[in-house]
Symmetry: C2
Subunit: 174 residues, 2 copies
């Protein structure tokens, strides 16, 4: 036979399944959003809640469960991006540089882990397109949707204070 059996029968799939169990499955832990982005968002929203005064890194770390020394790096990035303002010495700490209603989730994300839109073909064939580009338009559509959604979401909308209900928090998986 020189014709390839393209669609394997069910029985072959079963054999494949066994092999999945027997070999170390190549599994990635990577989430869609980076750990750093998660940390930056937690910290920013934490600052948006305690809007009274500056919070020290140790306080933010305790409230958000972000490793303190790593949080320092994240806050530095947010400071350099102009999203938070840092103050040293006694009674120092971090505070938002703008009102929470004027800082979007996208602002925070872009400060630490920029959401890169797909503008050129990753295959690097500029003049003549390749066969893959419907894919990249689809992927970039998804990026655009997220970008729009996150650009409209401000930090104050993420705080408890933005609603009458006091505990609308994380639902349990059920």
């Amino acid at each position: 036979m020189d014709r390839f059996i393209q669609y394997l029968p069910i029985i072959s799939a079963c054999i494949l399944d066994v092999k999945i169990q027997n070999s170390k499955f190549w599994k990635k832990e990577q989430a869609l959003f980076s750990q750093t982005a998660e940390y930056a968002l937690r910290a920013s929203i934490c600052l948006a809640q305690g809007a009274g005064g500056p919070m020290r890194a140790a306080e933010i770390s305790a409230a958000t469960k972000v490793p303190q020394d790593y949080l320092a790096k994240v806050l530095q990035a947010l400071t350099r991006a102009g999203i938070v303002a840092a103050r040293r010495g006694t009674n120092g700490g971090y505070a938002l540089a703008r009102p929470a209603g004027q800082v979007s989730i996208l602002d925070v994300l872009n400060a630490v882990d920029p959401l890169k839109r797909i503008t050129t073909c990753p295959l690097g064939l500029p003049a003549h397109g390749t066969k893959l580009c419907r894919l990249h338009r689809k992927l970039d559509d998804a990026l655009a949707t997220i970008e729009r959604s996150f650009a409209e979401a401000t930090l104050d909308q993420m705080t408890d204070a933005s609603s009458g209900t006091s505990k609308p928090l994380c639902p349990t998986p059920g």
Copy 2:
């Protein structure tokens, strides 16, 4: 003064901007989608296009510009997930295990880099919520949107053959 100046004046922002230039900016390269996911999608669509017969790894590598040895790992993962069927030896190669119209982008993504929805509070406070959970609902909404979009997009929709126009490819950035 024991009251923190929360909203720094413009002049301070300028000073901050200077510091951005002078220090090594903490910049991440990570895109929203992993390199492996990109490779897996390219390879899958490549197989969907050449739907005639099996393609060897070297051929797929040449067509998709994925490093050949790494592509082998990606294809192994797709094989174990039952998305592609592999055949060894002369005239061997890879082919889709199902018709391209029955394989979604989400299927491919989940095979190599699962899109993990947020079902529980990452802060690990199950009973009593934390102050951060509006955020995670927002993030998970984004994940849900992407998941839905990618579940509906099949590989054959990503091929050139799915349209009358022959070159609707990657637009140049302009």
